[in-house]
């Protein structure tokens, strides 16, 4: 595989050279074609979406399409900030621990069913359930008991036991590293189980579980956070059958007459007050949060038959079909903006249950958003059309969206040039074209080529299980001369050693400078969260310093001895020439400054994502684009021990501790100060090496209207339309 990827760079360099030489100067990049259909957008996407399922997809290739297919409690507006969508209003408690969303009554799924708060709850449950193993679980790491749900250690007590009333949320007392106890949710049936929809007749089953086959209970009807069953006294169970790719379905609970682990004994303790769903902390309990921890309560012993892991153990409640309540263990100002993200976008249970890994395909997909998926040809294109069931038809200007799945940037730009697409997805413009694009209009940039800031940072991740020596990591970080990197990328990128991205301080206005507490002369970047009021200045990173780098390396050599790596492999994903250029630059720098041998490898994006998640790498390229100007949630929290996107798998107790303290702080400025202190620890330990802050490059035909360019790179694609009379309004 390494050999073959000379093609990516060579193709683009040759193409770039060819494009640069011989194209006559013109106003626009390529002759502007006539508008054939004002309501059909042909969009050159940056590749094939990894997955359109909001619980599985994570790439920037999939996300704008996901937002078009699935509505959220809030949605991203043209400016990239969350605005009401499924939720018409919400109430936030003063301690910022609970938000009650009020849903509209006219939202429907594409199959006609009304969208309810139970669908929102279902997605949250699904994203946090261990069977799903969702990569997007990180977005919900503030929900009460989310970690213990994900690790399968939280339960609800079904009957009064040991002095605790039925309904108490408890945690299993399991020693860390111990073998997990048998699953209390396991059931079998003496007769075949007909998996079907809630309340349906057995004849309507879409899957039949053979007798005596184990299934896992996920939900019970009629309980808080779960939909009501047909009869209150005879609950139904939503179960998972591990056949092939898995299947879910409802069955009457009475059919599940076998409980393999009913008599097994478990040690449980009630969860802490701050993790208690539906509970408001008393003044004493708030004080107790910062007091030294009291002795752990004595566990009580309970039978397996009295315990179940159910959605109500999480901080979610559905008091009625159009009210959704979600609770955080700690004050969380970002709940409302997080409700626009993938992890909280409701999905249709009836479609997911039948094919949990493949439901988001044409034919089986059920959508709630402005557009609906009608075709998905692998590695070719996706076709989306206006959804007639969407509640906000006035907001939808587009009747058809064709998203081409070419993963080669040169092919995308060439297709745009030749009139094959109307706009190229942001940042999908080849590196080697940038110089030509910036000068092709009589020395000025082409009018359809624009550059805008982006809330994202490009960095290298280091597998800390392999490179556990901090001095080696620091040496690698200190040995990079970043301004030189930005100079060969031609895209206005800002090389940064600090991590959380922001605007260059020199570009801020006076009010923001005051809010940030810096002067115009201060180097670096700052993230403005609220204009003139709230600002975050990231701590300085490990700037280029040859002497310091070599000193760290010497320490590393001494400490590692024989274990010092003879060769380091740096991995990046295909499709973006910049990755190869940067890889080669870093390889050269590390060899020159540190004398370390580096080999570079490349991989296809989907596989790269999976492998880097599974520690199948040494050092890899990574980028992260924030979905809101919130440094704590979008950037710093990612590096908590065990976090889903913590690809280095770095663990630092002091870091986690500071983030815990920040999480409990209500005053925004004090909160940000703690976040900054945590980030300083992270940057100093170098599990990642920040390289530059992203800018977005756009190629958009002059007749395209309504394609927003926002900081988070999430344009509401359904608002786009093409203007045949564009020449009259340049």
């Amino acid at each position: 595989m390494p050999r073959r990827h000379g093609t990516t760079l060579s193709i683009a360099v040759i193409a770039g050279a060819l494009v640069a030489c011989g194209l006559p100067d013109s106003e626009y990049f390529g002759p502007v074609p006539a508008v054939r259909d004002p309501h059909h957008l042909r969009w050159c996407n940056s590749g094939e979406p990894d997955n359109l399922d909001p619980a599985e997809g994570q790439s920037t290739t999939a996300t704008p399409l996901m937002h078009a297919l699935f509505d959220g409690l809030t949605r991203y507006g043209d400016d990239g900030l969350a605005e009401p969508s499924l939720a018409t209003s919400w109430d936030i408690t003063p301690d910022q621990r609970r938000v009650t969303f009020h849903l509209r009554h006219d939202a429907r799924w594409s199959n006609g069913r009304t969208l309810t708060a139970y669908d929102v709850a279902y997605q949250v449950v699904r994203v946090l359930h261990p069977i799903t193993a969702s990569p997007n679980a990180d977005s919900l790491d503030w929900v009460k008991n989310n970690l213990s749900y994900l690790s399968g250690t939280v339960r609800v007590l079904l009957r009064d036991r040991g002095g605790l009333p039925a309904g108490t949320i408890v945690e299993l007392s399991v020693a860390p590293d111990a073998v997990p106890p048998p699953d209390t949710n396991l059931r079998t049936a003496s007769r075949a189980l007909a998996l079907r929809e809630l309340g349906a007749a057995p004849a309507a089953a879409y899957a039949t579980v053979p007798a005596a086959t184990p299934v896992t209970i996920v939900e019970l009807s009629g309980r808080p956070a779960s939909p009501p069953g047909p009869a209150a006294d005879r609950p139904w169970a939503f179960v998972y059958w591990d056949r092939g790719a898995g299947v879910y379905g409802w069955v009457p609970l009475a059919d599940l007459d076998g409980e393999p682990n009913a008599a097994h004994r478990y040690q449980v303790v009630p969860v802490a007050a701050k993790n208690l769903p539906g509970h408001d902390l008393t003044a004493d309990e708030v004080a107790a949060l910062t007091a030294p921890a009291p002795p752990a309560p004595t566990p009580i012993t309970v039978d397996g038959r009295d315990l179940l892991m159910l959605p109500e153990t999480l901080g979610i409640r559905v008091p009625d079909p159009f009210t959704f309540v979600i609770e955080a263990a700690d004050p969380t100002p970002a709940i409302v903006s997080t409700s626009a993200s993938r992890a909280m976008r409701p999905v249709p249970r009836e479609a997911v249950a039948r094919a949990p890994r493949r439901w988001a395909e044409p034919g089986t997909i059920v959508t709630s958003g402005p557009l609906h998926l009608v075709a998905a040809i692998p590695r070719d294109r996706l076709e989306l059309v206006r959804s007639p069931t969407y509640w906000d038809q006035a907001d939808v200007k587009l009747d058809r969206l064709t998203a081409y799945s070419m993963d080669d940037q040169a092919a995308n730009a060439n297709t745009y040039f030749a009139g094959g697409c109307d706009a190229v997805a942001a940042n999908n413009v080849p590196q080697s074209y940038l110089a030509a694009l910036s000068t092709g209009n009589h020395g000025k940039p082409y009018r359809d080529f624009t550059v805008s800031p982006q809330l994202g940072v490009y960095f290298a991740v280091i597998n800390t299980k392999r490179f556990d020596n901090v001095h080696l990591r620091r040496a690698l970080a200190l040995a990079l001369d970043r301004p030189r990197i930005a100079s060969f990328l031609h895209g206005g990128e800002i090389g940064v050693a600090s991590y959380t991205p922001g605007a260059p301080i020199a570009s801020l206005d006076d009010a923001d400078l005051a809010a940030c507490g810096v002067t115009r002369a201060t180097p670096g970047v700052a993230l403005v969260i609220e204009r003139g009021a709230l600002c975050y200045v990231p701590p300085p990173g490990l700037e280029y310093d040859v002497a310091a780098a070599r000193a760290e390396l010497a320490l590393a050599r001494r400490e590692l001895g024989d274990r010092f790596p003879r060769e380091i492999v740096y991995k990046f994903n295909l499709g973006f020439e910049a990755h190869k250029l940067i890889a080669e630059y870093m390889q050269a720098q590390w060899k020159q400054v540190l004398g370390v041998e580096v080999r570079i490898e490349s991989q296809e994006w989907q596989v790269f994502l999976a492998d880097t998640r599974n520690l199948e790498y040494q050092i890899a390229r990574m980028g992260w684009i924030g979905s809101a100007p919130d440094p704590e949630v979008e950037f710093v929290r990612m590096w908590r021990c065990g976090a889903a996107n913590n690809r280095p798998q770095w663990c630092n107790r002091a870091f986690d501790q500071l983030l815990d303290e920040a999480a409990a702080t209500i005053d925004p400025k004090a909160r940000l100060a703690k976040v900054r202190a945590a980030e300083a620890i992270m940057v100093s330990e170098a599990p990642i090496i920040p390289i530059y802050a992203y800018t977005q490059k756009h190629l958009i035909r002059p007749y395209v209207r309504g394609l927003a360019q926002n900081y988070i790179g999430q344009p509401p694609l359904w608002r786009v339309w093409l203007d045949p009379d564009w020449r009259s309004q340049p």
Binding site: I11, A245, D380, A411, A418, Q606, V607, N614, L615
Partner: protein
């Protein structure tokens, strides 16, 4: 034969370090067990092998571990693109290459011969990653005769087929020339000339049929190679053929996809060689019986 290939591929791949799901996972142990069981990775190796071979015998090529599709689906969805591209390339290569080679043989050792063989050498020497962007630059961007990328209608296959075809045309030209030269020295050709048959008829009607047998032998492996994924050309022109999956499955240790594609490719190669053998017999009567 297929079973042998599958067996060798299976054990070689499993011998390679790493796997589709690393052992140092960040997921909960129960979840990891779940996923490994789904893909039979926890079974002893011999059991995985027999499961896989059993599946093969039933025509089940397995399921990709990294994508939500079966190997059969991947082949069914992407092979047609490779076939279309391959066939068009072969047509181009055979027509152009044979013409070059035959003319060169007929005008042996003249300027025409040297010129044509130089052209053939150029075709063999210039790699597709250079030729393809040049084609795109001039035929797609400058002239606008073909689209620069994507498989969207017959016209979009012309440029990639021309690039691929040119490369194979060079080899075909040389083979055709050599075959024709040998044939033109045969007794029956001298007889035909002595009988007064025109040179053109001698060359194109009598000698050609025998002279292109080396080309026909070459066609078997050439077609299989072309059809099963000329990765570079498919990538540059963004034709969603099978070539991509070959390369990708190696890097990602997606065992079923790679072994499935190998078995498919080998089967295809075997079938093509069979057809070549039959064609050989039809072309050269001396081989029959």
């Amino acid at each position: 034969m297929l079973a042998a290939v599958a067996t060798i591929a299976f054990f070689l791949l499993h011998a390679a370090p790493g796997g589709p799901f690393s052992s140092e996972r960040r997921l909960q142990p129960a979840v990891q067990r779940n996923i490994e069981e789904r893909y039979h990775l926890r079974d002893p190796l011999w059991k995985q092998y027999t499961t896989y071979m059993g599946g093969l015998a039933r025509g089940d090529l397995g399921h990709s571990m990294k994508r939500q599709r079966s190997v059969g689906e991947i082949i069914a969805q992407h092979f047609p693109y490779s076939v279309k591209l391959g066939c068009l390339s072969i047509v181009f290569a055979v027509l152009f290459g044979t013409a070059m080679g035959v003319v060169a043989a007929a005008r042996r050792n003249t300027a025409t011969d040297h010129g044509l063989m130089s052209l053939a050498l150029v075709g063999i020497s210039i790699p597709s990653i250079v030729l393809a962007p040049i084609f795109i630059r001039f035929f797609a961007l400058q002239l606008g005769w073909v689209p620069p990328a994507r498989a969207d209608g017959f016209v979009s296959y012309l440029a990639p087929a021309a690039v691929l075809g040119l490369i194979y045309a060079g080899t075909i030209a040389r083979l055709a020339r050599a075959g024709m030269i040998e044939t033109l020295g045969q007794d029956f050709v001298r007889t035909a000339r002595a009988k007064g048959v025109t040179e053109r008829t001698v060359v194109w009607k009598h000698a050609l049929r025998l002279g292109i047998t080396p080309v026909v032998s070459y066609l078997g492996p050439a077609i299989a190679g072309l059809v099963s994924g000329s990765f570079v050309v498919e990538k540059i022109f963004q034709i969603p053929g099978l070539g991509f999956y070959f390369v990708d499955s190696v890097a990602s240790r997606d065992y079923p996809v790679l072994t499935g594609l190998l078995v498919f490719y080998v089967g295809f190669l075997v079938a093509l060689n069979l057809i070549v053998d039959i064609a050989y017999g039809w072309l050269d009567p001396r081989v029959r019986t």
